[in-house]
Point group: C2
Chain length 276, copies 2
């Protein structure tokens, strides 16, 4: 639960019950790690948010206003999480986009989640979800507010020692975790699933792709089957809050090493891309 909030710039924990974000999930969000009062990958988060607004035809929020609001919520804690929600605002009857749009802007800060560092040293256990993501190229990539698919997939397990669930699409291609992107390594090749039809184009994922040459990997974005994945040397998952986590186990398949993943983690930490 968030601890401090700004709704359209005003300290408030309520939004209009007429907001299209509530009625239709008509909006976007970003979740940003804060370390020592620095918003990690701020430019990249804003870039994705703007891309989402353009795709959904929502007027683009003012970057500087968002940044000032986020910074105004920071306190002296070493780490925190900032979440931004942009909705199309209130108005209109039914699905038709109203003519005079005034997007709503919500900025939250909350404490760093304790569970995040729990399994960092040895890697995380991952299950394969039964749920399959729908294919939807118009909505793929952006971080929109229609997230029932993730809730359904995440509801499949309660075991505390399982950190993440892997979700495939209807063609049995591995897409990502319920809350993270996926990479796998074989030799000097780094693979990550093609997200043309499903999934979220994660900020950390983008950064790793951009840095692949510096990381001494040849990157390939492709359709990945479970069989292909389980045959890899190393697998890791990533998001803005948990950073990069080596995968120790997918179902019964163990991955014995995460040496190359560790070097990636080190480089990303040096670049202040992921929290230490």
């Amino acid at each position: 639960m968030a601890e401090k909030y700004l709704v359209n710039g005003i300290s408030s924990n309520e939004i209009s019950a007429q907001d299209r974000g509530l009625h239709y999930g008509d909006g976007l969000f970003e979740t940003i790690a804060v370390v020592n009062k620095k918003l990690l990958c701020w430019d990249e988060h804003i870039k994705r948010l703007v891309k989402g607004c353009e795709k959904l035809n929502i007027p683009t929020p003012d970057k500087k206003v968002l940044e000032n609001e986020a910074l105004s919520l920071l306190d002296d804690k070493e780490k925190a999480v900032v979440k931004i929600i942009i909705t199309r605002g209130t108005g209109g009857r039914g699905y038709k986009i109203p003519e005079n749009i005034k997007p709503a802007r919500i900025v939250f800060i909350s404490s760093w989640p304790d569970h995040v560092n729990k399994y960092s040293n040895t890697g995380i256990n991952v299950r394969v979800c039964e749920y399959r993501y729908a294919k939807n190229s118009r909505l793929a990539g952006i971080k929109h507010l229609n997230r029932l698919e993730q809730i359904i997939a995440r509801s499949e397990w309660n075991e505390e020692d399982i950190t993440e669930g892997l979700v495939l699409d209807h063609d049995e291609h591995v897409i990502e975790g319920t809350m993270s992107n996926l990479f796998c390594i074989s030799g000097n090749k780094l693979y990550t699933p093609d997200l043309t039809h499903s999934g979220i184009d994660g900020v950390i994922r983008s950064k790793i792709i951009d840095l692949s040459r510096e990381l001494n990997f040849e990157i390939e974005i492709k359709n990945i089957t479970l069989e292909f994945l389980l045959d890899m040397d190393e697998v890791f998952m990533c998001n803005s809050i948990m950073g990069v986590r080596p995968v120790k186990k997918i179902e019964d398949k163990k991955f014995d090493t995460h040496k190359k993943t560790d070097t990636i983690i080190k480089t990303l930490e040096e670049h202040e891309i992921i929290p230490l």
Copy 2:
């Protein structure tokens, strides 16, 4: 825009900015026609709402509480629209469903939309949307709050004389309109699309299927192509507010008669299923 509101039983137009309905579209809704202080098809709306709650594992709302709240908002106007939203409420971090769920309940009333009766006599003009609905059998049928697909499809046209857009799925099967279900007639056969993988199981649609024998039709629920549809004698679309509307035109194809649709409308009006 709604004119009177109850949020968890209290007269308010605001909800918590932490509500999972806003963050994830984690909830359901119903839109109900009110005629002379009667909530049309109330039992059927509640039945679908309960089914949706069961599918999403949200505790079922108290039917009597919802009914009392809806009735308390009615005034002396001949017609009105009641909308109910049920969300999983606040709580939890991320997609995982929190242990102590307290769903949120929002009941709105708004005036009857003027545009609804505009094209009722002669039938409506319909376009074929370019957007294709994703296939998702876990979410199909229920009226959940993830409605970006409908917003995208509805944003394709602005012509005032086009009432509805027909949306197909990725297999080129006709599913429904952006806000209504679809039926078509050939001889004494009444067809409506199979909604196993996409679409909303509309209350009026269900009623028509149930009454098909009384209406002297043989009903068939099946995959319908655009070619099949355009070859029909009559086509109509339906939802709780607009009732049943004969289709005059789909793109350039004109339907010359709506005699059989008119008898269906008459019967549904007599049963107080659709507004007069």
